[in-house]
């Protein structure tokens, strides 16, 4: 196999160097700097140390996220060709564009439904699977959609949502069920404005429950068993135990998952882009932002949408702050 021999000679060495070298470099970094910090006066140490630990991460996010973000903000204050400073007019234009307002409505659907149901099913699966002996197979099946690339995702859902006119053989699972079991007319799930946003959100939920489940499951395993025992002895049923003991203790992790999901809901892109490209009133902010940039070639407006998206995250962050101050007090 020519691929392999080429790989063995050209890339394998790089990979080996990377897999061995990268951890070594990272290890040397932290060990070396810790060594230096320990040479500092006692009073200085605690102030210097954290920066060594967070330093590399900060550098990375600065280069790859913060600087582009700043340049986006700057661009959002300029006109289409990046030649003139126009103040907030891009923002005004965007916010008065009915198409954008529609995307905001759709993003709200996403925010609420996607977050809620992904979390709900994620918690359910994590908690329920935890109690059956076949936990691993169940979890892997739920997780599997995550492992499917989004290109294949659109193919999968084609098999679910596809439409044939009434009377023709349905090739989509849902319409098959509708016509053969309920004897009602098939629905164009992706195009029909009554359903399509929800149909798209359902795809996202399907794909992301595995995410919520895996993380929550990791947290669930960390809940001390004696607390559950105590609750059982106190006469609590399994549902009460979940509500009163497990869930509160999972709360920090639920917050993490929910925050992540909310942010992903705000910047959702792939599913809509691939399945409807924003047509049929399904457009969402990130797709709109993309279209403004690459189709309309208007980086200014595109940037403005991006900044609006970021501002929308702030309330979530405030909630997080409260949450982990509370957690700090409890430990």
């Amino acid at each position: 196999m020519p691929d392999l021999s080429q790989f063995l000679t050209n890339q394998l060495p790089t990979l080996v160097v990377a897999v061995i070298g990268v951890p070594v470099v990272i290890g040397l970094y932290i060990v070396g700097l810790e060594f230096l910090v320990r040479r500092l006066p006692d009073a200085v140490q605690p102030r210097a140390r954290p920066w060594i630990w967070v330093g590399p991460a900060l550098v990375f996010v600065t280069v790859f996220l913060v600087i582009p973000l700043i340049s986006t903000i700057w661009i959002s204050l300029q006109d289409k060709h990046g030649t003139a400073f126009v103040g907030l007019s891009n923002y005004l234009a965007v916010l008065s564009d009915p198409a954008v307002l529609l995307t905001i409505r759709n993003n709200l659907y996403w925010l609420v439904l996607y977050t809620f149901f992904t979390l709900l099913f994620g918690v359910m699966m994590a908690v329920l699977a935890d109690r059956v002996p076949y936990e691993t197979p169940v979890k892997s099946l739920i997780f599997m959609p995550m492992a499917i690339s989004f290109v294949a995702m659109s193919v999968i859902w084609k098999f679910m949502y596809s439409y044939q006119p009434p009377g023709a053989t349905q090739t989509g699972t849902l319409n098959f069920l509708l016509t053969s079991l309920l004897h009602i007319d098939p629905i164009t799930w992706i195009q029909d404005q009554r359903f399509n946003n929800f149909a798209l959100i359902a795809v996202a939920i399907w794909g992301w429950v595995g995410f919520a489940m895996v993380i929550l499951s990791a947290a669930l395993k960390g809940i001390p068993g004696d607390l559950l025992e105590a609750a059982r002895v106190d006469g609590a049923g399994e549902i009460t135990i979940f509500r009163r003991v497990i869930f509160p203790l999972l709360m920090p992790t639920v917050t993490v998952v929910a925050t992540t999901l909310i942010i992903f809901a705000l910047k959702a892109f792939d599913i809509v882009y691939v399945m409807t490209a924003g047509n049929f009133d399904t457009n969402i902010l990130a797709v709109k932002m993309y279209q403004e940039y690459f189709v309309s070639a208007d980086p200014g407006r595109s940037g403005a949408i991006a900044v609006i998206l970021l501002v929308a995250v702030i309330p979530v962050l405030v909630f997080n702050l409260r949450q982990f101050r509370a957690q700090e007090a409890r430990r």
């Binding site: 164009t188 195009q191 029909d192 691939v274 490209a277 047509n279 189709v295 070639a297």
Partner: protein
């Protein structure tokens, strides 16, 4: 010579990066096409394929590392790139006199901006072909319509016979709606004529103008009339364009005609077992709405431009214009060469030969208006199509929205 190219003695060597949308079998054909070039010149061609050429190319251009050569989504974008100075003029690169001999002047002109050549066509396609099953036609006693009136009569007959005449499928991912836009532009060209057509794509003819509106209305006569299109609007918007002709081969057939470009034969034969081109599948040109525009054809093609001027890039783009190069793809099927010197005998089957003849013999050839428009405009155009088939009654507001986009997109 500064231009380098294959004229220099010995091998040129080096590499050239090429970015284009062709993948799968198209990519294979392209690679086959450049293979002789690589062998002769010793230049290594790094071909890179991307579905999202717009984003990829824009990003690379703005970041300062474009590929030397790239496929350009359409003349519309070509104008933008040329205007921004990102495309390199080719007048000194290509042998312009040979070009003007071998290419129809329209094809050369379409690659120009402000009088300078910025891009070339290496393969073309013909739009407005109505695909049908000759066996069914024969069985039912239908004849191929020559005029728009024939067509409407045939439609009515078919409908009365209990089968929907048309299959129309508009779904195509991010470009959903384009098959419908083909209908509209063909009608604009053959109904209002080439002048209106040209000022329309150039942004000088309003969408709400009577001529354009009339074209939509004419199309609306088909898509808006119940029973003329299989499955109605739901089927149209929800079916992938590639699956659009499949109901023609259901048993019994669910529709009888399918208007689509020259590439469709390949898709139909692959997706429907037992369908062979010529016997089960044939085409006739979409009749012209107004007989004064008879012989009008919308064509399309793949543009190629140079973003970085290197000797290797020059050599390759020059090579791509040659009949030797283009006949390679033609022989592999799925392409029609804009180069007149590619022999008709190179086409692999009778149908494609016929299409090539149509293309060469077109009296009024106009390039795909959607590709000529700026990206924002054509995106709106496609969207209009989707809105229109679902809601033909809202034509006025749909066209008004397009006018609004037209007002900014050309700036």
């Amino acid at each position: 010579t500064g231009g380098g190219g294959s004229t220099a003695g010995g091998k040129l060597g080096g590499t050239v990066n090429v970015l284009a949308v062709w993948s799968a079998n198209e990519q294979d054909s392209f690679l086959a096409m450049i293979k002789p070039f690589e062998d002769q010149s010793g230049v290594k061609v790094n071909y890179e394929s991307t579905r999202d050429i717009n984003a990829t190319l824009t990003t690379r251009l703005q970041a300062g590392n474009p590929p030397e050569l790239a496929g350009i989504p359409g003349p519309g974008q070509m104008f933008d790139f040329a205007k921004a100075g990102q495309l390199k003029p080719l007048d000194n690169v290509l042998d312009m006199s040979a070009m003007s001999q071998q290419y129809a002047p329209d094809w050369v002109k379409l690659g120009q901006y402000n009088g300078k050549t910025y891009s070339i066509f290496i393969k073309t396609a013909l739009k407005g072909l109505v695909w049908y099953n000759p066996k069914t036609f024969a069985a039912k006693g239908y004849t191929v319509p020559k005029t728009w009136a024939d067509l409407t009569a045939l439609q009515t007959k078919m409908k009365a016979d209990g089968t929907a005449p048309w299959c129309i499928a508009l779904e195509s991912g991010t470009a959903s709606g384009w098959p419908g836009s083909d209908w509209v532009k063909e009608i604009v060209l053959s109904q209002a004529g080439p002048t209106v057509y040209d000022s329309w794509w150039a942004g000088k003819q309003k969408w709400t103008s009577p001529e354009i509106k009339a074209a939509w209305t004419t199309w609306g006569g088909i898509v808006g009339t119940p029973g003329l299109v299989y499955g109605g609007p739901q089927f149209m918007v929800s079916t992938a364009f590639a699956d659009g002709a499949n109901p023609m081969y259901a048993n019994p057939p669910k529709c009888l005609m399918h208007n689509q470009g020259s590439f469709m034969s390949d898709i139909i034969t692959k997706a429907n077992a037992g369908v062979t081109l010529g016997t089960d599948l044939s085409f006739f040109p979409l009749p012209d709405v107004d007989s004064k525009n008879a012989g009008a054809h919308v064509v399309a093609g793949d543009l190629f431009g140079m973003f970085k001027d290197t000797p290797q890039a020059r050599a390759l783009i020059k090579y791509l214009t040659t009949p030797a190069a283009q006949s390679i793809w033609v022989k592999r099927g799925g392409a029609i060469s804009p180069n007149k010197q590619v022999a008709l005998s190179d086409y692999p089957d009778a149908t494609s030969k016929l299409i090539a003849e149509q293309l060469v013999g077109a009296k009024i050839a106009r390039f795909d208006a959607g590709d000529l428009m700026p990206a924002a405009m054509s995106a709106q155009y496609f969207k209009d199509v989707l809105d229109f088939v679902q809601n033909p009654g809202k034509l006025d507001s749909i066209l008004a929205a397009s006018d609004a986009v037209q007002a900014t997109a050309y700036k």
